[in-house]
Symmetry: C2
Subunit: 500 residues, 2 copies
């Protein structure tokens, strides 16, 4: 018997058990061989990785400490008595090893892998092994099995309508907040569009981060349904619903690892949309040097994979390939992107034209899921809705229904990064710009980010500002400036070159 | 500026920095995006993964806590002032991502991957990604590059002789302590054999664990050289020499992951032997259901890979394939295996015949590296040395030189596991036996383990003991018994079957 103790350490999507090196109930000198234990005492056994502690103040030999998430999951008070035993390796790890050796796994195997992952029975390195093994190859049938396994484990939302539409952008393109314009257009038209958005994934800012500048995004299923019933649309944060427990665990490894797995992406996107009850989905695949997908060939492969799984699971997909050569709009960071979105909805002359046009294009494709709309009419219908102010009204109703947020200010610490030579902007390095915005504090610091003044093809004079860094925290600001000094992230084709 | 604090948590081959959620010097709300930091203040910047803490008692917002290993590595006193910055992702991670996508990496890329790994710049999941990506395929050239990169990063031992011999067994075969018999035979013959052994890797017991029952195995380079100069042989623990820093980090992930990568194994074994100054090496590849290598085809592939890298790096290899269908000897666990080894060296009638024969066979192959010995004469020479008592004398001199250990007793808690039916032993399940021995406490508890009374082909009566579990810790003993009750690990072809 060990006494339970809460250890205030956030081990991020991994359960850690802290045991004293002289723990009375469990000898674990051969640390590396059996480093997972099962903890009994709660409703279900809890699995955790062991870290050994050498200080009685932290954990006594008669105690077991649990990291914040593990403590939350076991759902027992401090001081409760628990027992521990060496964890049996999850049987599904044998399937992972078969996959590493190039095997093809069955639907039942994917089902038990996903169930073990959702229940925190895998360590992060085991999840990394799964991701990398499946990156090397997966059959179309395996992608379907994985999608269904992930959907199976989720709570499913049911709706009273036959058609539930949505739009999803493959991430990676900076400033690409089209969905926040598509949602009010489609809602104003009258199709239900319950947008369940993500926070930043490998980028300085996600749709949920930007919407949070304007409204509360933490709504449960009940709140979501009420708002969609009344306003046709909503933009909320998906993780708060806890729709996809295995997906959250998988992404917590995939994100910092930076390993891009198209099969994982298809399964992740479609399983979440299926469990959200979406019947008709527009998927935007930006292709270009600033996007996750770099070549048309990759995009076509991804599109086929989406279509196969969509067809087999009864979801209607319309997949469009768009320009991903440079950031969309001007702002990068929650407050800056919210400013761009609202300026498009308000039809301001200063609104970024590329964000407006792309949003109208995508909204048009969504509207054409309505069988009454003639093919090709969607764009014009969307433009009418936007220009008449009906999209802005719909957005304001959605914001009001979700709960309007206190307005947030732009970061007070600013610095303009200027052009080192005169010339035409040749390219913008998204990896570099992304990193500067992240380090400046985006998205956690809503006011932090980058305001782009120049885009590809623009002409700049030497010394003219290319973009402005915004930050609130002095350290973050210094780091971001340091990064920008090392590499401004812009390539300028100097006029002077012609004369050299 | 943050104040350094030692956090008494063993995070096992991964540097963890504990920062308060409200840390004054670094805002890391977007925990997952940038979870690695660089810590400045020591001789070199230290890389660490961040865990967030919510308790002032553990870490204050003005402090930075380091896990035991990280604290050891930064080599500064508690209270020292350090600064932190977001860690640049190691450039070599881009090479890993290329490998994941199926690319072939250059020697320079392997060199920087290995250097970053040895310097703890990779998280465990990044190392898992490297291992799994290289498991799917590596060219022969890549295996050579990896071997050379791993050797390069190591301290190299030089010797005064032209021929330095060694024997290495591919792990996984229980009780396979032939090297502890080969070393004294070869040393008595007069060839220098500085055996640098490992502790348990995915098995209940390694050669270093067994030797430690008899002698001190923690010798530095100076001690090793002195003993080999005087006695021709030595058996010490490799990690104590810290010869292969990257290998230790890689194995700390590979081991619990259980992903078997032949290319990684070749690089790991040969880089360590090269840096130990070995010129002539016998490699034993046991093949069978109880070994790491299950089929002859796998063994041949592995042999070719060893030979290619050996040839290119100027090491003479003699690779033999042996029977791996069942454990060698009787004991499994440090004290039990030491007992078997000494009974062979003492030429006792009760000594396990299979251990004796296999050791003589391997010793013979090593002796034949001597150009004066006629082909095929090695075995007889080895047998003469063993039977004349010269091997025992050599072993006693080596033990004396290394420092004789206090004799350790067998585990006092014992239980005999008996045959459920009468019949002939058909097979022994090594995974099962291995797990029982590990859970009983081997190798950390030197006296714990399993004593096998019956091997394949033996006849047993119902109720007769198959093996005995030894343990010292009551909990471990209970766990081990529970496991054995679930699955005894023996298949018995019942006589009664014939009459059914």
């Amino acid at each position: 018997m060990l006494t339970l103790k809460r250890i205030p350490i956030d081990s991020y999507r991994q359960n850690i058990a802290y045991l004293h090196r002289k723990c009375v109930a469990y000898r674990l000198d051969d640390f590396s061989a059996v480093s997972k234990i099962e903890i009994h005492g709660g409703i279900e056994p809890l699995w955790a990785i062991v870290n050994l502690v050498e200080d009685h103040n932290l954990v006594k030999p008669t105690e077991i400490g649990l990291s914040l998430q593990a403590f939350h999951q076991i759902n027992l008070p401090e001081g409760a008595e628990v027992t521990v035993s060496p964890a049996q390796q999850p049987v599904s790890l044998d399937s992972i090893r078969r996959k590493v050796q190039g095997g093809v796994l069955s639907a039942a195997e994917y089902s038990s892998i996903i169930s073990d992952i959702a229940n925190y029975r895998y360590s992060k390195m085991e999840i990394a092994a799964f991701l990398v093994a499946s990156a090397s190859f997966m059959t179309a049938g395996e992608v379907l099995s994985l999608t269904e396994a992930m959907e199976e484990g989720e709570r499913n939302i049911s709706w009273d309508w036959d058609t539930i539409v949505d739009v999803h952008c493959i991430g990676g393109l900076l400033g690409n907040r089209t969905d926040m314009i598509v949602v009010p257009i489609v809602a104003a038209f009258g199709l239900p569009i319950p947008k369940i958005a993500a926070r930043a994934i490998g980028s300085p800012c996600g749709t949920a981060d930007v919407m949070e500048v304007l409204a509360n995004v933490m709504l449960g299923e009940k709140g979501l349904k009420e708002i969609v019933a009344k306003e046709n649309g909503s933009i909320i944060w998906g993780d708060y619903l806890n729709l996809a427990p295995s997906d959250a665990v998988l992404r917590a490894v995939e994100r910092p690892l930076g390993v891009y797995t198209p099969q994982q992406m298809v399964a992740s996107v479609l399983s979440k949309k299926l469990s959200a009850g979406i019947t008709h989905l527009v998927i935007d695949i930006p292709v270009g040097s600033n996007a996750k997908i770099r070549t048309m060939a990759e995009a076509m492969k991804l599109r086929k994979m989406f279509e196969h799984v969509g067809d087999m699971s009864g979801m209607t997909l319309d997949i469009v390939v768009t320009d991903g050569s440079e950031p969309v709009g001007r702002g990068i960071g929650p407050t800056l992107e919210a400013r761009d979105v609202m300026s498009v909805l308000r039809c301001k002359a200063s609104a970024p034209e590329d964000l407006r046009e792309k949003s109208l294009f995508l909204a048009g494709r969504v509207l054409e899921f309505d069988s009454d709309l003639r093919g090709g009419q969607g764009y014009f219908e969307a433009r009418d809705i936007l220009d008449s102010g009906r999209a802005l009204e719909a957005m304001n109703r959605i914001i009001h229904a979700q709960g309007r947020a206190t307005p947030s200010a732009l970061g007070k610490l600013t610095r303009d990064i200027t052009a080192p030579v005169s010339g035409t902007i040749d390219s913008i390095n998204s990896t570099c710009i992304k990193r500067i915005a992240s380090v400046a504090g985006s998205p956690a610091d809503k006011g932090a980010g980058i305001d782009l003044f120049k885009k590809i093809g623009d002409f700049v004079e030497r010394g003219e500002a290319l973009y402005r860094i915004h930050a609130n925290n002095q350290n973050n600001f210094a780091f971001a400036n340091g990064l920008a000094e090392g590499d401004i992230g812009y390539e300028i084709a100097s006029r002077d070159k012609d004369f050299e």
